[in-house]
């Protein structure tokens, strides 16, 4: 395992990454080497003093288009783009897609006519960023689409793990909670399995999507079993807004069986770390004290890594577009 701690290839962390596509729509389908390079470049950014000049994207226009509420993702993207010297405009279009008159594509092409270089899209419908990419000429980043994917979250989670543990390959990682409704879970499953981690999913059967094991993971309904010897326990938010009231009897019952507390965590590896993409429901997915345990919880590091990861992605998309 030790050799995995070292990078067995030459990395030039000081130059932008080139990707196969000039969009980041999903982790599924990305190559291992692309992910590696993005993480390495992000690691480089994360190590920089925040006053270091990284502004090499002046004149680059980024539209942050959010059809769904978000604080951390939107701010994180904005900071990342600004640190690269790009112009950022935030547009909140919550509920506007269901307003009569303007279709999503009309909205998109209106925005496109303003000639942005990059559109960062969050949308409640799975696949919406793919539709944007089909019709628009600028680069698209999927900042979360329905229950489909949230690729930048998976990349920042991976960077967080790498910086703490050193490597991904062979790690036992348990993703726990509302898998069915989670785009974070899907992106993490694709990324972590691509990188060679052993991924397990833990959820009540009502929140476990059909045929999930076909994505290369092991599925558990018993949390203690599912996190046994795990190196990383990743929790997901219970997405009540995407449920019909038939998934889960009550929050206290959920916490009893699927909330992370000391007893359940004792099943995991003694050095196991805890992650959560936020926002978290304390006392539902995780005991409050565990969330604040700085020795074990990486929740704040995740947020911090978000900016570095998004810098590496924005820069890479610009680089990939220019060079193709």
């Amino acid at each position: 395992m030790n050799k995995l701690l070292k990078n067995n290839y030459e990395v030039n962390k000081s130059s932008p990454v080139k990707l196969l596509s000039h969009h980041l729509l999903a982790i599924e389908g990305m190559q291992k080497s692309e992910i590696q390079k993005l993480l390495d470049r992000a690691d480089y950014f994360a190590n920089l003093d925040k006053h270091t000049d990284t502004k090499n994207l002046s004149g680059y226009v980024v539209l942050n288009v959010f059809f769904e509420n978000s604080t951390r993702t939107r701010v994180s993207f904005e900071l990342a783009a600004r640190r690269l010297g790009a112009e950022v405009i935030n547009i909140s279009l919550i509920n506007s897609s269901i307003k009569k008159g303007e279709s999503l594509l009309d909205t998109a092409s209106t925005l496109n006519a303003m000639k942005p270089d990059l559109l960062i899209v969050r949308h409640p419908h799975s696949g919406a960023p793919i539709l944007f990419a089909e019709y628009l000429s600028c680069s698209i980043i999927n900042a979360g689409d329905g229950r489909h994917e949230h690729p930048t979250q998976a990349l920042l989670d991976a960077l967080t793990i790498k910086r703490r543990i050193g490597y991904l390959e062979g790690l036992k990682i348990s993703i726990c909670g509302d898998i069915a409704n989670s785009r974070v879970a899907r992106s993490n499953i694709h990324l972590l399995t691509t990188m060679g981690a052993k991924v397990r999913c833990v959820a009540p059967s009502t929140l476990m999507p059909s045929n999930l094991e076909k994505l290369g993971v092991k599925c558990f309904n018993d949390m203690k079993e599912g996190i046994k010897d795990a190196d990383v326990v990743m929790l997901l938010r219970l997405q009540n807004e995407r449920m019909s009231g038939t998934e889960n009897p009550s929050e206290r019952e959920y916490f009893n069986f699927f909330g992370l507390d000391e007893t359940k965590l004792s099943m995991a590896s003694p050095n196991a770390v805890i992650m959560h993409p936020g926002p978290m429901n304390r006392g539902v997915e995780i005991a409050s004290a565990l969330a604040d345990d700085t020795n074990r919880s990486l929740i704040k590091t995740q947020v911090e890594m978000g900016v570095a990861v998004r810098m590496s992605i924005i820069e890479a998309l610009n680089h990939s577009k220019n060079k193709t």
Binding site: S126, G127, R186
Partner: protein
């Protein structure tokens, strides 16, 4: 008085199990002569005889499409004209249009409005429940007297068991079938208000999981059929299941037919041609109801077609505008065009050696007519000249840009077979240039 002669044409007539090369003569709206030897001198006395050289071509009864939605993108006449160009001589339309076909006067109105000697005949289903709300049964007796041929809630299922029982029971008095879109709408999440995000969008399975779309389990179909079969047994009704899409449904229907119940069903080309993997790019042309199912389900539909469990093939035409389809998958409209591709996709089963051509034609003609209690079309002497002329083997590619309705889920598919002419009441409702050139002076 013009006679039209179709010389050396292969005549396929499922009603009499006929498949031979003959000469067919029509006069006014009637077939006057079918024979192997053509005595031209009988006709040559006057100049009004038209002869088409039909060597290599095939004639069969015109298609009876038993499931057509007239959507917002079309009006009835447009659909009739498109249907004629597609080889359809009769079509049954669903009651879920605007206004709803839920009372005798509108049934009468549609019938009159659509009457045109040279366009496909329009047959009307009445709304099984008032306002298609599934709660109160509508005036199915009066609608039946006005010509409604069967009763259905269209693209919504008749959900309430008591309502279904009463409907079936009542329908036995007027000898009409109850047609069901079989789907447990609670299970598929479709009973949720449109703003909630748990409405079923595609077949449930690995692909729905990958795409993050809400799955509709395959059993949502068979659950409804199993209930209905019990009610059909209780009431003695003729129960017809529309667009069957799953293996379990085919199995249950097969069993019920064996037990002697009066149960029939149809399917549509997407369900024997495509499977759910088509959705992997979120292409909304494949957003259908019922959804495209697994490959195993598709194979079961083919088995059902082969062994006769499935009685008919309908287009399930539900054309949609580009605007309502150019949306994220969850927000896009449900349905696809069908009438223009029904013939060639059914013929595809023949080219793939799944069924023979006589059987394929039966699925499109006499079988649906029999289900709906309409006189079976038959190409015999002294019978009505409603037929199509086609080339069985002409290679072709379905292209959206060549179609008048959309979206087609078959864009780019290579097929064989082309409709050259459609005759309704002895007159050409459609004839393409290739056929016009077949005329012998």
């Amino acid at each position: 008085m013009t006679h039209t002669i179709f010389k050396s044409i292969k005549l396929i007539n499922p009603a009499t199990n006929f498949n031979q090369k003959v000469n067919v003569v029509i006069h006014n709206e009637t077939i006057t002569n079918i024979s192997k030897d053509l005595h031209l001198e009988k006709f040559n006395k006057n100049n009004q005889t038209i002869i088409y050289d039909c060597e290599g071509l095939t004639m069969s009864p015109g298609i009876f499409d038993m499931r057509v939605n007239i959507g917002k993108t079309e009006n009835l006449k447009f659909t009739q004209i498109t249907a004629a160009e597609s080889g359809i001589t009769s079509m049954a339309i669903l009651p879920n249009q605007t206004p709803k076909l839920n009372n005798p006067s509108i049934i009468d109105h549609i019938k009159r409005q659509s009457e045109d000697i040279n366009l496909p005949k329009v047959i009307v289903y009445g709304a099984a429940t008032k306002d298609l709300n599934g709660l109160e049964i509508s005036e199915i007796g009066l609608m039946s007297e006005m010509g409604a041929i069967g009763f259905t809630n269209g693209n919504k299922s008749i959900k309430n068991s008591l309502v279904m029982r009463r409907l079936m029971s009542y329908a036995t008095m007027i000898n009409r079938p109850i047609i069901q879109h079989a789907e447990d709408e609670d299970l598929s999440g479709l009973n949720q208000a449109s703003t909630t995000s748990i409405r079923g969008e595609m077949n449930e399975g690995e692909i729905s999981t990958r795409l993050g779309l809400i799955g509709i389990p395959a059993c949502a179909e068979v659950i409804m059929i199993e209930r209905d079969i019990r009610l059909a047994k209780l009431t003695g009704a003729h129960y017809h299941v529309a667009h069957v899409s799953t293996r379990d449904a085919v199995n249950v229907i097969r069993e019920a037919k064996r037990s002697g119940l009066y149960i029939t069903c149809d399917t549509a080309p997407p369900y024997f041609s495509l499977n759910e993997s088509k959705l992997l790019t979120y292409n909304t042309a494949f957003k259908l109801s019922p959804p495209l199912r697994s490959e195993d389900d598709r194979l079961a539909i083919i088995e059902g077609i082969q062994d006769g469990t499935i009685d008919a093939i309908a287009s399930d035409h539900r054309a949609r505008s580009k605007d309502t389809k150019a949306q994220p998958f969850s927000a896009a409209s449900v349905g696809a065009s069908g009438i223009e591709t029904l013939f060639s996709l059914t013929l595809d089963l023949v080219h793939k050696k799944i069924i023979d051509i006589n059987k394929a034609i039966s699925f499109l003609t006499i079988n649906p007519a029999k289900i709906l209690g309409i006189n079976s079309p038959s190409l015999e002497e002294e019978k009505l000249a409603d037929f199509i002329v086609f080339n069985e083997n002409e290679p072709n590619t379905i292209k959206q840009e060549n179609l008048k309705t959309g979206p087609t889920p078959f864009d780019g598919k290579k097929i064989y077979g082309k409709i050259l002419a459609t005759y309704i009441n002895g007159q050409a409702a459609f004839m393409n240039q290739i056929f016009k050139n077949k005329i012998i002076k």
